[in-house]
C-alpha cells in the first residue's frame, strides 16, 4: 500500500487549482478595485435569478438576507428546526474589528498582520486584508440590527483583548456574542422571508449537489420530518454549512454539525483545502466519563483575567487552593512572557498537552490544567468579574457542580474549529463554477491557525459584504437562462444516488449503531491527527480508518426506514462521510512535512519544542482532488505569494 498520494506541483487553472483571482494593485486597493469593476446584475434581472443557500448560521443567514434584499430569489436550507439554532449561536467571546475605539494603535493593517501572522503565514494576503478591511462595517451593521454589544457608562462601545494580539479590538455581548450576532442575522433573514424573497426550508438536509453542464445548478435535500427526497434548482448554490470538527465526536461543536454538504460537493469535484488544520481550543471543559457526548467550551475571553497553571510537582493530589504560589507553574507566562495567558490557541493547547503528557495534569482523569481567577478577583473585585463572565461561571457550575469563584476552573484542549475546508478563490467560488463556500466551511482567511473572535467576523463578512458583490459577477451571464428545470436527467440521477445511499445505510442491518463508529473514528483522529501528529501515527490512522469504514459498511445498524423521522439514519449518513473525510485529513497532515499553526508535526520542531515551519518547501495550500472511492486523492498546490509582508517565525516570547 502506497500511503503518500501522488503529487503535482502545478498551480495553473488548466492543470489543477484554478487561479485565485486576486485583483491586481496594491493590497489596500484590491477590494475597492474589485467592487468598482466587477460586473453587476441590474435590479430587474435579479428577480430572474435563484440562489440556494445551505446553512443558516452567520454566513448563511447573512448571505441569504443580503442577497434577498438585493433582489435575488433565495431558497434557504437548514437541518435545525429554526434558522436561529445554527451553531454560530454558541460562539461566546466576541468579534474583532479594527475600529480603534480604544486608541491603542489599532488599524486595518495591524489587524491584517496579526491575523496573517496568527495563521502562521498560510493564508492569502489579499483575503486576510479584505477581512480586516470589512471588519468595521460589520460592527456598524450589527449595531443597526439591534445587537446589544457591551457598552461603557458613557454609552460608547466597549472592547476587550483576545489571544495573539496586543490591542483591544474585540466587541462582545457578555459571553453570548455568537447568539446575539446570529439573532441579528436571523431577524434580517426572517424579514426577507416575510417579504417573500426567501423561501425557508427548515429540517432539511442537503444530500447531493446537482451539476448541469459542469455548473452547480441545484441540490437534492431530504425533508427530515417526512423523509421525502426533494429536488431544488437554482442558478448558483452557496454552501455555508459550517465546520466539521464534530468528526472528533468529542468536540465543542453541536451534535448535528457535520461535513456532509462540503464532502458531497468535494466528491463532485470541488477541491478540499488543508482539511487537517483543526483548531484545538485550549479552554474547554475536560472529558469526565465514557458516555460524554460533547465538550463544552469556556470562552477564551476568560484568559483576559484568568491565569493558567499546573502543579510543579507531578501527580500532585492536593486541592488547588492548598497548593502554595511557589509550587505552581504558570507555564504560559513562563514560556511566552510577552503574551502570557493570551498566547494564541494552537500554542496554548500544545503547551497544555505538553504539561499533561509530562504528568502534571489535574482532575479525575488527569487531563486538565487550572484556570485561576483569584488574582483577578483580588484586583478588580468579585462584582466586576461577575459582570464580565457571570454566565460562564454559572455554566461551569451547572456542568461540574463547582463554584469557580472559590477555586480554579479545570480546563482542557478540545477540537473546535476547522481552518481547512472547501478551496475558494478571492470571490469565494469553489473550483466548481456556480458553487460558493462561505464561513467556516471554506478554508480561506485563517491560515493554519485562527485567532480568537475572527470566526464570527469571517462568517459575517463573507455573507454580508463579499458574496453580494462576487456572485453578481458570475450570475451576470445567467440573466437569460430562465428557471433551471428539475426534470433534467441530472436531477433524476442525483436523486437516485441520494436514495440509493439511504437505502444502503438502512439495509445493512448489522449490530452496531452509528455512534459506535463515530466515537472510534473520533478517537483515532484525536490520537493521530489532533494537537500533534507524526508520520507513523498518521499511517496507522489511515489504515485503521479504512478498516473501520469496512466494518461500518458491513455491521452498521440503523433502525427504521428512510421514509420517516429517523435521527439514527441522519447520524449514519454523516458518519459515512466522516469516515472518508478522516482519511483525507490524515493524508493532508502526512504530506505536510513541516509544523505550522495548528499543524504540529513532531518531526519538525525546534530544540525548545516550538513549531518549525518550512517556507521553502511548504509555502502553499494543499488542495485535494477527489478521485473516487478507495482511490488516492491527488494533491495540487496553490503557492502562496507574499508581496506585502516578510515571512517570519512566529514569536510570542518577546
Amino acid at each position: 500500500m502506497n500511503l503518500s498520494p501522488s503529487e503535482s506541483t502545478i498551480n495553473e487553472s488548466a492543470q489543477g487549482v484554478p487561479g485565485a483571482k486576486i485583483p491586481k494593485g496594491p493590497l489596500q486597493e484590491k477590494w475597492s478595485h474589485y467592487k468598482a469593476t466587477c460586473r453587476l446584475v441590474s435590479f430587474n434581472n435579479k428577480k430572474k435569478l435563484d440562489i440556494i443557500v445551505v446553512g443558516t448560521g452567520l454566513a448563511g443567514s447573512a448571505a441569504a438576507a443580503s442577497l434577498a434584499e438585493a433582489g435575488y430569489n433565495i431558497k434557504s436550507f437548514c437541518f435545525q428546526d429554526s434558522p436561529r439554532r445554527a451553531h454560530s449561536v454558541a460562539a461566546q467571546g466576541g468579534v474583532n474589528s479594527a475600529k480603534n475605539y480604544q486608541n491603542d494603535g489599532d488599524n486595518v493593517y495591524r489587524m491584517f498582520y496579526d491575523t496573517l501572522k496568527g495563521g502562521d503565514f498560510r493564508a492569502r494576503e489579499a483575503n486576510v486584508y479584505r477581512l480586516a478591511e470589512c471588519s468595521a462595517s460589520l460592527i456598524d451593521q450589527a449595531v443597526a440590527q439591534g445587537v446589544p454589544f457591551a457598552r461603557e457608562y458613557g454609552g460608547y462601545l466597549s472592547n476587550r483583548s483576545f489571544g495573539g494580539v496586543q490591542v483591544r479590538r474585540t466587541f462582545y455581548a457578555r459571553g453570548q456574542t455568537g447568539q446575539q450576532l446570529l439573532l441579528g442575522a436571523y431577524s434580517a433573514l426572517m424579514r426577507q422571508v416575510s417579504a417573500g424573497k426567501v423561501e425557508l426550508f427548515t429540517r432539511h438536509e442537503m444530500l447531493e449537489l446537482v451539476m448541469v453542464d459542469g455548473k452547480a445548478r441545484g441540490i437534492i435535500a431530504r425533508n427530515l420530518d417526512t423523509g421525502e427526497i426533494e429536488r431544488h434548482s437554482a442558478h448558483a448554490v452557496i454552501l455555508a454549512s459550517g465546520g466539521f470538527g464534530k468528526i472528533f465526536y468529542l468536540s465543542t461543536l453541536a451534535m448535528g454539525c457535520n461535513g456532509s454538504a462540503i464532502w458531497r460537493a468535494h466528491k463532485k469535484g470541488a477541491l478540499m483545502a488543508s482539511p487537517s488544520w483543526t483548531q484545538i481550543h485550549p479552554t474547554s471543559l475536560p472529558q469526565q466519563g465514557e458516555h460524554q457526548s460533547k465538550l463544552t467550551l469556556m470562552s477564551e475571553s476568560l484568559r483576559n483575567d484568568g491565569r493558567i497553571w499546573v502543579p510543579k510537582q507531578q501527580g500532585d493530589h492536593r486541592h488547588p487552593n492548598d497548593i502554595p504560589e511557589e509550587e505552581r507553574d504558570y507555564y504560559l507566562e513562563r514560556r511566552y512572557p510577552a503574551f502570557g495567558n493570551l498566547a494564541p490557541r494552537d500554542i496554548s493547547s500544545r503547551a497544555a498537552k505538553e504539561r499533561i503528557d509530562a504528568g502534571h495534569g489535574v482532575g479525575q482523569m488527569k487531563n486538565a490544567v487550572y484556570l485561576d481567577f483569584k488574582a483577578a478577583i483580588a484586583e478588580y473585585g468579585l462584582d466586576k468579574i461577575k459582570e464580565r463572565y457571570g454566565n460562564l461561571f454559572r455554566m461551569y457550575e451547572k456542568i461540574t457542580g463547582v463554584d469557580a469563584y472559590k477555586e480554579p476552573m479545570k480546563i482542557s484542549p478540545a477540537a473546535h474549529f476547522s481552518m481547512g475546508g472547501l478551496w475558494v478563490d478571492y470571490e469565494l467560488s469553489t473550483s466548481i463554477p456556480g458553487l460558493y463556500a462561505l464561513g467556516e466551511c471554506n478554508f480561506s482567511d485563517h491560515g493554519a491557525n485562527r485567532l480568537g473572535a475572527n470566526s464570527l467576523l469571517q462568517a459575517c463578512v463573507d455573507g454580508y459584504f463579499i458574496i453580494p458583490y462576487t456572485i453578481g459577477d458570475y450570475l451576470a451571464d445567467d440573466i437569460k437562462t430562465g428557471t433551471i428545470d428539475t426534470d433534467l436527467p441530472e436531477f433524476a440521477e442525483a436523486e437516485k444516488a441520494a436514495s440509493d445511499l439511504l437505502e444502503k445505510l438502512t439495509s445493512i442491518k448489522g449490530s452496531k449503531p452509528a455512534d459506535y463508529f463515530h466515537k472510534k473514528l473520533g478517537r483515532l483522529i484525536w490520537d493521530y491527527c489532533g494537537v500533534t501528529r507524526n508520520e507513523k501515527g498518521l499511517k496507522t490512522a489511515i489504515e485503521s480508518i479504512r478498516k473501520l469504514r469496512e466494518e461500518f459498511w458491513t455491521d452498521l445498524k440503523v433502525p427504521g426506514t428512510a421514509g420517516e423521522i429517523n435521527s439514527e439514519l441522519e447520524k449514519a449518513g454523516r458518519v459515512a462521510d466522516y469516515l472518508e473525510f478522516g482519511e483525507l485529513m490524515c493524508y493532508d497532515a502526512l504530506t505536510r512535512n513541516e509544523s505550522c499553526g495548528a499543524h504540529f508535526r513532531e518531526e519538525y520542531q525546534t530544540e525548545d519544542g516550538e513549531a518549525l515551519r518550512d517556507d521553502e518547501n511548504f509555502c502553499f495550500i494543499s488542495c485535494w482532488d477527489y478521485q473516487g472511492e478507495d482511490k488516492e486523492p491527488i494533491l495540487h498546490k496553490e503557492q502562496l505569494v507574499f508581496e506585502e509582508t516578510k515571512l517570519i517565525a512566529r514569536n510570542y516570547k518577546k
Binding site: E69, R85, M190, P513
Partner: protein
C-alpha cells in the same frame, strides 16, 4: 444509578401517544440528562426497539433546541437551566422520572419528544426585526447607548426560543417569548421607530397561531432557562396599548 423512566412515545402528530415504562441501569452521575437518553437509545437499538426521538443540538444551553418536560417541569428541577445542562447528579438512585415533550397551543408533537415550534419563527417574521438595509449602516458609535440600557436590552435579547414558557403556561401563552423580542428592540434607540408596528404585528401573529392569553401567573419566568423576566410582558402591553392609542 438505576432509574425507572416513563417516556412519552408517539409515532406522529396524527396518532395518539402514551407513556411507556423503561428500566435503565448503569446511569452515572456525571451524565447529562440527554446523555442518559443517548444511553437508553443505544440499549433500545441493540434490542431491536425503536429509539426515542428527542430534540437536541448544541448541548450547552444556547441553541434552544432541547426541551423536555421532566417530572412535570419544563427543563426539569433546576432554575435557569436547559435540559441539556441538567445532569443526573440532580436525581437519585431508584427515582422514577416522567419525560414528556413540550406541549402548548401551537406546538405539535412530531414524534415522541420532538415538537414543531415553527410558530415562533412566524411570530418573528411578523416584525421581530429592525428594518435596516445591509451594507449601509451608520457608524456604530454614532448612537450612544448607556451601559445600563444595553445591559437591560441584553436581558431581553437573551431568549433562546426553546418554548419552555409556552409549555409551562396553563394557557399555552407565548407572551414571554414574544414580549422578550418586542422589549429587546424597543429598549434600543435603533428599534424605537418600528416599536408600535412591531408590537401590533407580532401580537396579532401570536394570536393567529393559537397561543393562549397571558393571565399573569408568572410561571413562565420561573421555568425560563435564561431567566427572562415577566416585566417584558408589561413592556409588550405598554407598546401594544401605545400603538392602539396612537393609531
Amino acid at each position: 444509578m438505576k432509574l425507572k423512566l416513563k417516556i412519552w412515545r408517539q409515532l406522529n402528530a396524527n396518532t395518539p401517544g402514551k407513556l411507556v415504562d423503561y428500566q435503565l441501569e448503569g446511569v452515572e452521575e456525571d451524565m447529562s440528562f440527554l446523555e442518559m437518553l443517548d444511553y437508553l437509545n443505544e440499549k433500545l437499538i441493540l434490542s431491536d426497539e425503536r429509539p426515542v426521538e428527542f430534540d437536541h443540538d448544541c448541548r450547552e444551553g444556547i441553541c434552544g433546541t432541547c426541551g423536555l418536560f421532566i417530572n412535570g417541569r419544563a427543563h426539569g428541577p433546576l432554575a435557569g437551566t436547559s435540559t441539556c445542562q441538567l445532569h443526573m447528579r440532580s436525581f437519585s438512585d431508584g427515582d422514577t422520572i416522567y419525560i414528556e415533550p413540550f406541549r402548548g397551543g401551537a406546538f405539535k408533537v412530531t414524534r415522541d419528544l420532538k415538537i414543531d415550534r415553527s410558530a415562533f419563527d412566524r411570530i418573528i417574521m411578523a416584525g421581530g426585526f429592525i428594518s435596516t438595509p445591509v451594507g449601509d449602516a451608520p457608524e456604530a458609535n454614532a448612537i450612544p447607548i448607556t451601559h445600563d440600557e444595553a445591559e437591560s436590552a441584553f436581558d431581553s435579547a437573551a431568549c433562546i426560543g426553546c418554548g419552555a414558557c409556552v409549555a409551562t403556561c396553563k394557557n399555552g401563552s407565548a407572551a414571554l417569548f414574544t414580549s422578550a423580542k418586542i422589549t429587546h428592540l424597543a429598549k434600543l434607540p435603533q428599534g424605537k421607530a418600528e416599536a408600535q408596528q412591531r408590537a401590533l404585528g407580532m401580537i396579532a401573529q401570536m394570536d393567529a397561531e393559537g397561543f393562549g392569553h397571558c393571565s399573569n401567573t408568572k410561571a413562565c419566568q420561573v421555568e425560563c432557562p435564561q431567566e427572562i423576566s415577566v416585566t417584558n410582558i408589561d413592556r409588550m402591553n405598554w407598546e401594544f396599548n401605545k400603538a392602539k392609542v396612537l393609531k
